[in-house]
């Protein structure tokens, strides 16, 4: 609270991103956890809630006649533009937010004050919903080849690894410790995924400290042990996910990559995924494109290409595909690493697992996958997503890229995933929101020390509770796409990778398809279920009546009303829909005040309220995904502009037409 210089500023305007001339007047509040904007308009009193932890950058722009503009960019790709009448107020808000958006202690984060009204037991149950021990059991472990190792108990060998680790049976503690000393941050090779069908496995580690010539007997033995744990293959792939140049440069620092001559029976392979800095800049560039105001098609496509974002997505996918093929088709085990083995390695291992194992394409399985390959293996959530104030160079959208890879796969295999796009978007949101404890800190060790499970709630339980919102209606457990490995085409198909506007422009609702097939089909399925139940009841009653008919027993009909299609048809027909600015130049369009505008915006509200799927996104922290985004991003720009310039110099209007 001591950081809030001014808790309330009145007469602030929230600028509509689509039609900047339209702005809502209201009051801005700063609280310990949120920035809240409440519109003055008495009928709506629309509220916009922004979590401090979602704030990525705050930019004070040059003061204009109307006031002092403040631009807030959020990590969930929302952009808020406020105009504050007084320079001094703007400065106070700016300084306060700068501090509030960069907490220095974990205790300042929202999850420590967030209270979803659950009792202790419910909270504890939430934390055990996703259980990695069970997951390893599901994989078929331990078995004759793999065993649970206690070598890392109390994090004695590697402080960024979990305590529960699976290693080849033949890897003794001596080998493990020896190997760990030869690996960056002592992240020795361990099992990430075991493919029951043919005993092949995906293992992960950091780079070896090989420099130009160093060797380590135990590390070599470790790789031998991994190979031996897969009797079906006489070699192991070692996949270095870095570009070769980067890996070579690391040798000068005493790190590097495996020399094929030193390790017997390995096949070494580079897969050029760029480092966190390249990825950070790439996203930055792509977001600049998304932010452009009425860009031309060329601006957009050029910008998208220039950002390189889809190229990076493809590189990650390619790596995952390579590994999945090696495992499923060649039956070979794969050791994956990058530099530290917690960014690219996490991406690639999880993409490969997702391709190989249908379980990870289910709701729970996907949570398990993130829990395993990202959370437990020490992906540095705190550093990468800037939860606490830290080195900005550590920030990078690594898990965002993984989430996008999943979306790209969902686009190609629409029936293969139990969850829908919304599920991915909400996970991304909560990785940054710090509303739940799951993604705090940089390692399991840190989380345990902070007693996260005792003090915060688990996102997984929350998502599971609301799972009805996240289901893909096309998913069927017995569908061919939900069986076995997903096979991607072997030919290079760049056009498979598409811009994900549902994520990066998710707050520009007007850009998204105005009717959701997913929601429609879910409504149909829901109705189907009711019909099934009713059918059963009807059959039962019919039978009964036929039986008792002889006795002339009267059965009074109390059956519910015929089920109505309107259940889902209404929501689809009340399309949130007003014209955009199609005239290109606002001025060029002479005026007449729109007559239907209000009625349509009412429709917008009702529809999106219905569709507001994540209760907590609307109730607590993140109003931005619910009602609010309508206020700031709804595409109702078109009719507004003309009315402002009404009557003004007709002649110049004409001139603009001519140049338009």
């Amino acid at each position: 609270m001591e950081h809030i210089r001014t808790p309330k500023v009145e007469n602030v305007r929230l600028v509509d991103r689509v039609s900047p001339k339209k702005a809502a007047l209201g009051t801005l509040y700063l609280t310990a956890t949120h920035v809240i904007f409440v519109e003055n308009s008495p009928d709506t009193r629309k509220e916009t809630w922004i979590l401090h932890s979602q704030i990525s950058t705050i930019e004070k722009q040059a003061t204009t006649a109307t006031g002092c503009p403040l631009l807030i960019r959020c990590k969930n790709f929302q952009i808020i533009q406020l105009i504050i009448p007084q320079e001094r107020d703007c400065h106070d808000v700016y300084i306060s937010l700068i501090r509030l958006a960069r907490p220095v202690k974990y205790e300042e984060l929202y999850c420590f004050s967030f209270n979803p009204m659950l009792d202790k037991e419910e909270r504890e149950q939430g934390w055990v919903l996703i259980n990695l021990s069970e997951e390893y059991k599901r994989m078929g472990l331990p078995n004759n080849y793999w065993q649970l190792s206690d070598v890392n108990r109390e994090y004695r060998v590697c402080d960024s690894y979990p305590t529960e680790l699976y290693v080849p049976k033949s890897a003794t503690a001596h080998i493990i410790v020896g190997s760990s000393k030869f690996r960056s941050r002592r992240r020795f090779p361990v099992l990430s995924y075991y493919y029951k069908d043919n005993h092949a496995s995906i293992c992960r580690s950091s780079q070896p400290l090989s420099g130009f010539s160093a060797r380590c007997l135990e590390d070599e033995q470790m790789l031998q042990a991994i190979r031996k744990a897969n009797p079906g293959s006489d070699f192991v792939y070692v996949v270095d996910t870095r570009p070769k140049l980067n890996a070579m440069a690391n040798r000068a620092a005493g790190k590097g990559y495996e020399n094929e001559d030193n390790y017997s029976n390995i096949k070494f392979q580079f897969i050029g995924i760029e480092n966190i800095h390249v990825m950070r800049n790439s996203l930055q560039k792509m977001l600049e494109v998304c932010e452009l105001k009425s860009p031309s098609m060329s601006d957009f496509l050029w910008g998208l290409e220039n950002s390189g974002w889809l190229r990076h997505i493809k590189a990650i996918m390619d790596a995952g595909i390579f590994i999945a093929k090696a495992v499923s088709e060649e039956g070979a085990s794969v050791l994956v690493h990058c530099s530290d083995g917690w960014d690219r390695t996490a991406q690639v291992c999880s993409v490969a697992s997702l391709l190989l194992d249908p379980h990870y394409r289910t709701l729970k399985g996907f949570m398990v996958l993130i829990e395993k390959d990202w959370i437990s293996f020490g992906h540095k959530f705190n550093h990468r997503y800037g939860n606490l104030d830290g080195d900005p160079k550590e920030i990078s959208p690594i898990i965002d890229q993984f989430i996008e890879c999943v979306w790209q796969l969902m686009e190609q295999f629409p029936c293969a995933f139990e969850f829908n796009e919304r599920f991915l978007i909400h996970i991304q949101h909560h990785i940054y929101s710090c509303q739940f404890g799951n993604f705090l800190c940089n390692s399991q060790k840190e989380r345990r020390e902070l007693k996260i499970q005792e003090r915060t709630y688990s996102l997984w339980a929350h998502l599971w509770k609301n799972r009805a919102d996240y289901l893909n209606p096309l998913f069927r457990a017995d569908h061919s796409q939900t069986q076995g490995t997903l096979h991607l085409p072997t030919t290079p198909c760049n056009f498979m990778y598409k811009f994900w506007s549902g994520m990066y422009n998710r707050f520009e609702k007007g850009m998204q398809p105005r009717q959701s097939v997913t929601d429609y089909l879910m409504a149909v399925k829901e109705e189907t279920q009711q019909l099934e139940e009713e059918l059963e009841a009807l059959e039962e009653r019919l039978e009964k009546i036929q039986k008792v008919q002889l006795n002339c027993t009267k059965v009074k009909s109390k059956q519910s009303e015929p089920s109505k299609h309107s259940g889902f048809s209404t929501s689809d027909n009340s399309i949130a829909n007003t014209p955009q600015d199609y005239s290109g130049n606002m001025k060029s369009f002479p005026s007449r005040s729109p007559s239907q505008g209000d009625e349509d915006s009412a429709l917008i509200l009702t529809q999106d309220n219905l569709k507001n799927s994540d209760p907590d996104l609307s109730a607590n922290s993140d109003q931005e995904s619910g009602v609010e985004d309508l206020s700031c991003r709804s595409p109702s720009g078109g009719e507004h502009a003309p009315s402002e310039d009404s009557g003004k110099d007709r002649d110049s209007d004409e001139a603009v037409f001519l140049t338009a």
Binding site: A416, Q481, L521, Q549, F657
Partner: protein, 465 residues
């Protein structure tokens, strides 16, 4: 090879001349199905006009072009303002490119505003004017109302057209009208765009970045965005501004029709049904004189520069697909319907898309000698392939987004042969199954309810005496 090219040139030419049309497949095709409804008579102008019953106070059918003498590219029947007689229409025709005097394209029931289309006015360099033309156009305005003239050409292009005798409406002579210029490309520019796009889609060797640059360089999506934007603008004038619109480019047979027909898709729920969309194509493309024979002769793989070749109709279909993608539940037809139309526009066993105008089709006696596409498509067994299972009648105006982020490549048509659609087809099938199963249950439940109700009343009857 040069000689070969020469031959193919002459072959192409031969194939696109009128005489040889009678040698084309539709004249030899013998249907193996029973014609339930003859498509040649499915969409008669009179019937279409009846739909605009409330328009009949201000508009009338004119048969001035009965012999195709006034305007060779118009159909015999057109809709014009009631107050303008045929004599005046003849005069106006001399002032409009290709004799294409302004006619009604769409009547907005909600507020009585209209879309009209025409050819460019032949003002020339010395600013020629035509009183009848001005009168006709003003006759479409209600008292105190203003209208918009949307010229699909940039101002620059429109000005250049004056040197060739064409031009645009001067404000001074049409004071109640406000002119807006957009720039929708024409002819070879569109054709080159298509060739480049198809080339990019077929080139599988390049990396991710080159794919995006090639997609960008093709400019295809730029054209899509421009056409859709113009159509939205026209629709906005009608529905939001309450103003009528006159649309033309140069000839009024290409970009004009893209805009008028897309505006109707946005404004008019009927044009989003199968039947309504067919009527729209019949009215706004075939009857309106889009020269299909010239435009859709070769498609993307022509090695010779075909002067008249241009994917105008394909761009239109692509735009419809874009709107369909944004409003997946508001169309009675699905993507396959659009793909089917694309295919038949370029190569077909049916006569529907033959010829460049109604007058050519008449001369070719297509109605007698060939089969109509609609006769085939409108059979229940065929229709089921093209019916969108998600369709729920939506009576609202639908405003699509024209942001680049909202306008992706139409993979269903451009990547059709370059990627397997197996998984997408399976998804579609799954979707159909979900909805079919629901309907099935609905039917079963209804039957049981009825049975139950009957039994219960029976019981009641037995009990009551």
């Amino acid at each position: 090879p040069g000689e070969c090219l020469h031959h193919s040139c002459s072959l192409n030419y031969a194939l696109s001349t009128l005489d040889s049309i009678t040698l084309m497949y539709p004249f030899f095709y013998r249907p193996m199905f029973e014609v339930i409804e003859d498509g040649w008579h499915s969409f008669l102008p009179e019937q279409e006009f009846e739909l605009y019953s409330s328009a009949s106070g201000e508009w009338r059918l004119s048969y001035v072009n009965k012999e195709f003498a006034v305007c060779p590219s118009y159909p015999p029947t057109v809709i014009v303002p009631k107050s303008i007689d045929d004599e005046a229409l003849r005069k106006v025709a001399t002032f409009r490119h290709g004799g294409r005097f302004p006619v009604l394209s769409y009547y907005h029931q909600k507020n009585g505003m209209v879309i009209m289309r025409s050819g460019q006015p032949l003002t020339g360099t010395n600013g020629r004017r035509c009183k009848e033309d001005e009168k006709l156009i003003n006759a479409t305005l209600r008292v105190g109302k203003r209208g918009y003239i949307i010229d699909t050409r940039s101002l620059n292009v429109a000005q250049q057209a004056r040197a060739k005798g064409g031009g645009f409406e001067q404000e001074a002579h049409y004071p109640q009208w406000r002119r807006i210029h957009k720039s929708i490309e024409r002819y070879h520019i569109l054709q080159e765009s298509l060739i480049k796009l198809v080339e990019a889609c077929n080139d599988q060797t390049h990396n991710m970045d080159r794919w995006l640059s090639k997609l960008e360089a093709s400019n295809w999506l730029t054209h899509i965005k421009e056409i859709l934007t113009t159509a939205c603008l026209a629709a906005q004038c009608i529905d939001r501004e309450g103003a009528s619109v006159l649309i033309h480019g140069t000839e009024g047979t290409d970009s004009t029709l893209q805009v008028t027909s897309l505006a109707q898709i946005i404004l008019e729920p009927r044009s989003r049904t199968i039947r309504g969309f067919e009527a729209l194509i019949e009215r706004e493309w075939l009857q309106a004189g889009h020269p299909f024979q010239q435009r859709c002769a070769q498609s993307a793989y022509c090695n010779t520069k075909q002067k008249w070749e241009a994917p105008v109709f394909l761009l239109f279909l692509d735009c419809v697909w874009q709107i369909l993608r944004q409003f997946p539940c508001s169309f009675e037809f699905n993507e396959n319907f659009l793909i089917m139309l694309f295919e038949h526009a370029y190569a077909s066993q049916f006569g529907t898309f033959l010829g460049n105008s109604e007058s050519e089709r008449c001369k070719l006696k297509l109605q007698q000698k060939t089969m109509s596409l609609w006769s085939w498509v409108n059979q229940p067994s065929e229709l089921s392939k093209y019916t969108n299972p998600l369709f729920e009648a939506n009576n609202l105006v639908i405003w699509p987004s024209v942001a680049p982020q909202s306008l992706p490549l139409w993979e269903g048509i451009f990547l059709r042969w370059n990627r397997s659609s197996k998984y997408l087809d399976e998804a579609y099938e799954e979707m159909v199954n979900i909805i079919e199963y629901n309907k099935e249950l609905q039917a079963k439940v209804n039957i049981l309810r009825r049975q139950l109700a009957e039994l219960e009343t029976e019981d009641g009857m037995q009990e009551s005496p």
